[in-house]
Amino acid sequence: MSETSPADSAVIARSRQEPEVFAEIFRRHAPEIKRFVIRRLGLDDAEDVVAETFLTAFRQRGRYDLARHSALPWLYGIATNLVGRHKRTEARQLNLLARTGVDPVTEPFTSRSDERLSAQAVQRNLAAALVALPAGHRDVLLLVTWGGLTYTETAEALGIRVGTVRSRVNRARAKIREELGGADPTALVNEEVRHG
């Protein structure tokens, strides 16, 4: 960390005496958290979830473990819990994509519709696989992939054991491989674990 940008933990520590300083945590991480939430729920619900994520974080800043330099895993954990309140929205959109090939989540951001066509089969299978996963498995899988968190960070974010993260990722991957099997048979032999 350079002098001009203290670690998140230092900012949070200072925000306990000077609450307005917490805005810096928002400035640093809100763009990424919002992208993650949009990928899960779409634009419509993202504003609520993101605002609520940072308000919750602000209220809980007194309990933040200052040994953790980056606040991202913590924020991802809060966001994931709040996304969980919109399970039906998430499932409805994944089901729509799986059935029709139209993804309401990415629609506002895509202009080059031709490029999407070739990938459609994979996307529809992925959507079908994701919606079929138990919510806890989907949460873990998407924190590891979209969130880029390590297994340890994912465990901290969700308050579960690292072993649980590992087994959920493995099982979720197996299910996705199954679902993608038709599209790409070589995926069946890939057993490598990249995180942890």
């Binding site: 306990r16 609450p19 805005a23 992208r35 504003e47 990415t106 590891v144």
Partner: protein, 332 residues
């Protein structure tokens, strides 16, 4: 292809989000509104609506380099403020005591002005009210009769259309209604007579009471100051507790004196005050001779924080009368 790579690619066309103004605004609003119900009366929301919401863009993105706000200079040395409150404490026993009995009601007449907000608009609502509160227990059994007075523009803002609903009701005395549908105040925030007459009568004990479970968020002294008001407006303390309250209030860091103050009814006096985190000086006004508590007043001292010109009054109250009755009027 690795399924994790494919998953990473899934919906990757969603770009990183740069326009977060709506979320920033909501965060700033939440950050500036401590979840303590009685702060509203002291005008916190007014400051919020005016100053902070407007400053959101700058505040969110510049906060790192902004120095901590300097505390506003006291108007007069703190020792003088202590004197106002000490005198109030000395005079606490100079009036005949009310001695309400269990089952009876204390009846308070008051006038007040506080900020109202709706649809992003802000104005000052005014009313005159009489409230009957049971000597013991929650406000749910209380009765309230309220008459609206003409609303006023929030300083520096036009009177919004939302205030017209109030305007239409001006001059029509309200009917007695239940004072509260629920009262879930924490024990230490109670202000019914049975409770307050058991509060400590020594300065240190009363001070501890004022700081009971105050969150450690940098606003502790202001919160304690705010709680003093909770025991002054529509509340009646026996003389011993009242004296202890004023002495304890004098020990709160940051209290200043205001030589010329006025309550909501225009009665002039001298005040002890503290500047709120939102740039409003929250005053408790006392009669200059008798040191009776008259009411409170909120005066802007930081235009940017409060969103109103320095010197403008954004809240006030006047405690006009207190008495004891056997029962409140019937609620229809």
């Amino acid at each position: 292809m690795d399924e994790l790579v494919q998953l990473n690619d899934f919906r990757s066309e969603v770009p990183a989000q740069e326009d977060l103004r709506a979320e920033a605004e909501r965060l700033m609003a939440g950050m500036s509104a401590p979840a303590r119900p009685d702060l509203r009366r002291l005008g916190l929301r007014a400051a919020l609506a005016g100053g902070l919401a407007a400053a959101v863009g700058a505040a969110v993105f510049l906060v790192q380099s902004r120095p901590a706000p300097a505390p506003p200079p006291p108007l007069i040395r703190t020792v003088a403020a202590v004197e106002v409150l000490s005198r109030a404490a000395e005079h606490a026993g100079s009036r005949p005591e009310l001695r309400p009995r269990p089952g009876q009601f204390l009846v308070y007449e008051s006038q007040s002005m506080d900020t109202s907000e709706e649809d992003g608009e802000i104005w000052l609502s005014r009313s005159r009210r009489t409230i009957w509160l049971p000597v013991e227990g929650s406000a749910v059994k209380g009765v309230l009769r309220e008459e609206l007075l003409a609303p006023l523009p929030y300083p520096g803002h036009p009177l919004p259309s939302a205030a017209r609903a109030e305007q239409a009701l001006v001059g029509r005395p309200g009917r007695p209604e239940r004072a509260a549908d629920f009262d879930d105040r924490a024990e230490f925030l109670r202000n019914d007579y049975a409770y307050v007459s058991k509060l400590p009568t020594d300065t240190e004990g009363m001070r501890r009471h004022l700081y009971t479970r105050v969150p450690n968020d940098g606003l502790q002294d202001y919160e304690a100051w705010n709680r003093v008001g909770g025991l002054l407006d529509e509340s009646y303390l026996p003389a011993a507790q009242r004296a202890a309250l004023f002495r304890a209030a004098a020990t709160i860091p940051g209290v200043v004196t205001v030589k010329e103050a006025q309550d909501a009814a225009g009665r002039e006096g001298i005040a002890a005050a503290m500047v709120s985190p939102n740039g409003v000086r929250e005053e408790y006004v006392f009669d200059r001779k008798t040191y009776d508590y008259l009411g409170r007043r909120g005066v802007v001292v930081d235009a940017e924080l409060a969103g109103a010109p320095v010197g403008s009054v954004v809240s006030s109250s006047a405690q006009l009368k207190v008495g004891v009755v056997d029962r409140p009027p019937a609620v229809e």
